[in-house]
């Protein structure tokens, strides 16, 4: 067990892959067994991650677990095998390990063929996501970031809807286009820094002229913004979401999009603080456009799944707005909103999937009066809808409130206007979600022979209720006591923003040295060297 004690993160990241390859080797006839084994494996990973990551008291600076060892030196440049879980990624890692078994259980009967391969790809995808989340070396991060595309490509392309080939290719090539240009920036900086350690690269970047820094930041930002997706780079998302099988949509919305936001806060902003401050305003503007535009487009959708897909554009716009506000409260709001969106939108896709499995249609017009036939389902859908809208006491409210608060206090020239416009996005969110809810669930029962409602014969079964219950618990928990989920990121986020706004010379506080740096900067903060006086997330909550 000593190996496991030394390499817990390696185990968490690669255990799914090992299991995945074993499942892939199972004969076709054993698909159902493979599905079961895959689920049990993913569940075990979740339990382990919960026990390990929440069981360890975080070290000074918030690092929960870390591994760092030289991996290889490829003709000159060293690559470190560096993984760490700290305040910034702790909950995103747990969200990932939570959503994978949940989705497997929630879509148990959705697929009919090649179950083993699907479970295997799902597990490979989990490795990619976890690896990208915990990687602390940019080369390693890049490897996982790109490797994630492969299983997702096949999940959409093989098990997707009618337009699956188009959607899968679009998803793959769109994402690849951003990350390839980013690779050039990465190589440029790695050559300057002599390696891929983000702290060293940040130092090298700060020595470059501001114009070059700006281009490098743009290269990073575009790769991440495609993943988020930020308007106007979002066009791959509706296709991929709608065509993907339910499980694919859940993971795409639940985790993959988060990696974009996470990339900003982990790499793009701390590595190029000046450029990030410089480009914060345009990013905030694009976020506001995404919020309003996503909501407006969602409103006119006739397909529930497509509506949820566009709502993702709107919600992820909030995340980007919070990050661009460059305030502690806004960034903390963005961190929470990423978790919120993972839970709520993931749950929405699961629910839409459950409806589709029964009715074989997702058109709003095909339904009506579903509440009569499926009361339990309707209850769950209502709760998740309210959370997605951001009703107080649900998770959606806290995140959006903090983000709007942060934007309002950001001190941007148009910051207050942006906050007001973004607030209209909350209202529009209520409009499109409730309008859809009304048309699908309320009203007289649609008795038409061809209608979706007509084909609904059973309410949720025990398995589906078991899937939804933890989601509801989380929705309420995050809404009532968000501190559980943002306490870990408070220190690193505060330190990061002080760093970003501090005048040169900089000390580069990228993990795992967050702690020392944050102490160093408290002195600066006390002297009043940094501006806007935003209350911390903690204070607002109380």
């Amino acid at each position: 067990m000593t190996w496991l004690n030394l390499h817990p993160l390696t185990f968490l990241v690669f255990a799914p892959t090992v299991l995945g390859f074993l499942l892939m080797a199972l004969p076709h006839a054993l698909g159902k067994l493979a599905r079961l084994l895959g689920f049990l494996g993913a569940l075990a990973i979740f339990v382990l991650s919960l026990a390990w990551l929440l069981g360890h008291a975080p070290a000074a600076g918030g690092t929960v677990m870390a591994e760092r060892t030289p991996w290889f030196t490829l003709v000159g440049l060293p690559v470190d095998y560096a993984l760490a879980v700290d305040g910034l990624n702790l909950w995103l890692v747990l969200l990932t390990t939570f959503l994978v078994p949940l989705t497997m259980l929630g879509t148990w009967n959705s697929l009919k063929d090649r179950l083993g391969t699907f479970a295997a790809l799902f597990l490979l995808l989990e490795t990619g996501m976890l690896g990208a989340l915990v990687a602390q070396d940019l080369f390693v991060f890049y490897l996982f970031w790109e490797a994630m595309l492969i299983p997702m490509y096949f999940m959409i392309g093989v098990w997707g809807g009618d337009e699956r080939r188009y959607a899968a290719n679009k998803f793959f090539l769109y994402t690849l286009s951003g990350s390839l240009l980013w690779l050039v920036a990465l190589l440029y900086l790695a050559n300057k820094a002599g390696g891929f350690n983000p702290a060293v690269m940040a130092q090298a970047a700060s020595a470059l002229p501001f114009g070059v820094q700006g281009w490098l930041f743009i290269a990073f930002a575009v790769a991440f913004a495609i993943k988020v997706p930020l308007f106007p780079l979002h066009t791959w998302l509706p296709d991929a979401h709608v065509q993907a099988p339910t499980a694919g949509s859940v993971i795409l919305a639940g985790v993959l999009l988060k990696l974009g936001g996470y990339g900003f806060i982990r790499f793009a902003i701390p590595m190029f603080p000046q450029a990030a401050m410089h480009y914060a305003k345009p990013i905030a503007l694009l976020s506001v456009i995404a919020i309003v535009y996503g909501a407006l487009v969602a409103m006119v959708q006739r397909d529930i799944k497509k509506l949820v897909a566009y709502s993702s554009v709107s919600h992820m716009g909030f995340v980007m707005l919070g990050l661009a506000s460059m305030t502690v409260i806004g960034t903390q709001g963005a961190m929470l909103q990423m978790l919120n969106h993972g839970i709520s939108t993931g749950a929405l896709f699961l629910l839409v999937g459950m409806l589709y499995d029964r009715a074989h249609t997702r058109m709003i017009a095909d339904f009506g009066g579903v509440a009569v036939k499926m009361p339990i389902f309707t209850t769950f859908f209502m709760i998740v809808t309210l959370s997605s809208i951001g009703l107080p006491l649900t998770n959606g409210f806290v995140g959006e409130f903090w983000i709007l608060n942060g934007t309002f206090l950001s001190g941007f020239q148009w910051g207050r206007l942006y906050a007001c416009l973004a607030t209209s996005g909350v209202v529009l969110g209520a409009v499109y979600m409730l309008w859809m809810f009304m048309r699908v669930f309320w009203g007289p029962e649609n008795k038409d022979e061809d209608s979706g409602t007509h084909h609904l014969h059973s309410d949720l079964n025990a398995r589906e209720i078991a899937v939804m219950l933890p989601v509801v618990v989380l929705i309420v928990w995050m809404g009532v006591h968000p501190k559980t989920f943002v306490a870990a990121s408070e220190t690193p986020v505060t330190a990061l923003l002080q760093e970003v706004k501090a005048p040169a010379p900089r000390t580069f506080i990228l993990t795992p040295a967050v702690h020392e740096a944050s102490e160093a900067h408290e002195a600066v903060g006390a002297a009043g060297a940094h501006a806007p006086e935003a209350p911390t997330a903690h204070e607002v909550h109380q």
Partner: protein, 499 residues
């Protein structure tokens, strides 16, 4: 005259396959060779044994670190690298040929003998800087390949492809010869390394004739690597060739031509400042043209072999970018890239045999749904195509990584951006292969045909494909061993760069 043991040691990598080739020819005298199973087995066994022995011998030389020479033939680390490279390619080709020629109903021992002679020529070509020996090697591997392309005489397009390849190849060879003769005329020596220093001493580095000589030699190399605008023969020749031969040409010809180019340009002419710089500029322009044309043309192909041909053209472009960067690390990247390229391209062509596609049956349509029927082959196909597209964590990514990194490091950011855009475009047509294999159900017509035919059995081609997939995966996970332990030592100790 008697040879010293060291001279024998330098000659053995040439003698072993040549001896094997003679044996195979003797065996193939029998008229019923196609039907007599044991003769067939003996021929293939002999050929495999010959390349296996030369592989074993060269790895042994590599381990001991000795670099023997026979006059102008230097069996140094770079030549040993080439010999190992070519031996692996030839072994995979022989394995695939067994199944492919059986499927085509066209079994001739001569093909194996020609293949082995080509191996001899290739090793010779990459182990010298003496122009006459270089030319000898070039012709010794080119002529058997002309014949191999047109080997299936029953098919008219096979003869057509062979003839096209021969005519254009002959012109390129004469240009190459002319270049060497000009250099000889000016310097008075056929040894290119010596010629370079003589020209420098005589102050002839700016002489236009030197430039013309160098350019004509470069043309010869670029023809063999199928760089634009000397690429037109490639799709026709690949389409005409039997699948394994097309794979062998795409890999081995390109590989040795690049390695010989390494010896001649950065190796010998590197000291010829202005000429070297001009050649690098020419390579940069042609690399761009190759990447753009190769990738864009590959997009619209419906025939898998033609797609792979244009893909092989575009890979020449990436490799040329390594020469544009021109650092030892970039050359290491070029060699590493070649190793991975060997595995992925031999694998991709091997798949056609493993799936039992014969004759004209090589469109994307014919591949539909096959990935699910043959999961191991399907998995390998995914490995090859994603690696060709340069997706991590597979070997192809690291090849591009090393070349692009050096390109960015030497200030060619624009070329690197063009290179990644080219990779993006290429991802589309490599995905088409996977789309056909996995995302499309077989057409009704194909299902009907398949039920009429006995199931495809191609165990040896399948094994060759799996070996190739293993190499590509190894390139992704123990890349440092291949790059630093193998490719870098060939550059530093063989070529004498960074010594």
């Amino acid at each position: 005259m008697s040879l010293t043991p060291s001279q024998w040691a330098a000659l053995l990598p040439l003698l072993i396959p040549a001896f094997g080739a003679c044996l195979v020819i003797l065996m193939s005298i029998d008229k019923d060779q196609a039907t007599t199973k044991w003769i067939r087995g003996a021929m293939y066994g002999t050929a495999l044994l010959a390349v296996g022995a030369s592989f074993w011998y060269l790895t042994d030389l590599w381990r001991t670190g000795s670099q023997p020479a026979f006059f102008q033939l230097h069996m140094d680390r770079l030549a040993q690298f080439t010999g190992i490279f070519v031996a692996v390619a030839a072994a995979l080709t022989i394995l695939q040929s067994w199944d492919h020629f059986h499927q085509e109903g066209w079994v001739k021992g001569e093909t194996l003998a020609l293949l082995l002679f080509a191996v001899v020529g290739m090793v010779l070509f990459a182990s010298t800087t003496h122009f006459v020996v270089l030319f000898l090697g070039l012709e010794l591997f080119s002529i058997p390949l002309y014949a191999l392309v047109g080997t299936v005489r029953a098919r008219s397009e096979s003869a057509e492809g062979g003839m096209k390849y021969f005519l254009t190849g002959a012109v390129a060879s004469s240009c190459f010869l002319m270049g060497g003769v000009l250099t000889y005329g000016l310097s008075g020596t056929f040894d290119l390394a010596a010629a370079a220093s003589i020209l420098t001493v005589q102050g002839l580095t700016f002489d236009p004739l030197v430039l013309v000589g160098a350019a004509l030699m470069l043309l010869g190399f670029l023809f063999k690597v199928s760089a634009v605008p000397f690429h037109q023969w490639t799709p026709d020749a690949y389409e005409a060739s039997p699948h394994p031969i097309a794979g062998f040409m795409s890999v081995a010809t390109k590989g040795v031509a690049f390695i010989a180019l390494l010896r001649v340009f950065p190796g010998s002419f590197g000291s010829l400042g202005p000429v070297g710089a001009k050649m690098q500029a020419v390579l940069a322009v042609l690399a761009v043209a190759t990447l753009v044309l190769g990738n864009l043309t590959a997009l619209v192909q419906s025939n898998v072999k033609r797609m792979l041909a244009y893909s092989s053209i575009s890979h020449a472009g990436y490799l040329m970018l390594g020469f544009v960067a021109g650092t030892p690390a970039a050359y290491t990247g070029v060699l590493f890239y070649l190793v991975i390229y060997l595995a992925m391209n031999m694998g991709a062509f091997g798949l056609l045999t493993a799936f039992g596609l014969v004759g004209e049956q090589t469109t994307f349509e014919d591949l539909r749904g096959l990935g699910w029927k043959r999961p191991a082959m399907g998995f390998s196909a995914a490995v090859f195509m994603l690696s060709l597209a340069g997706i991590p964590p597979l070997g192809g990514f690291y090849g591009k990584y090393m070349i692009f990194r050096e390109l960015v490091g030497t200030g060619h950011v624009g070329l690197a951006i063009l290179g990644v855009i080219a990779s993006l475009v290429s991802a589309y047509y490599y995905l088409r292969f996977l789309v056909a294999l996995f995302l499309q159900a077989p057409s009704a017509e194909a299902e009907r045909l398949a039920s009429d035919r006995p199931a495809v059995r191609a165990p040896l081609a399948g094994a060759a494909v799996l070996v190739s997939a293993a190499i590509v995966l190894a390139g992704g996970f123990i890349q440092y061993a291949l790059a630093d332990g193998f490719a870098k030592r060939a550059i530093t100790e063989g070529l004498g760069l960074l010594r």
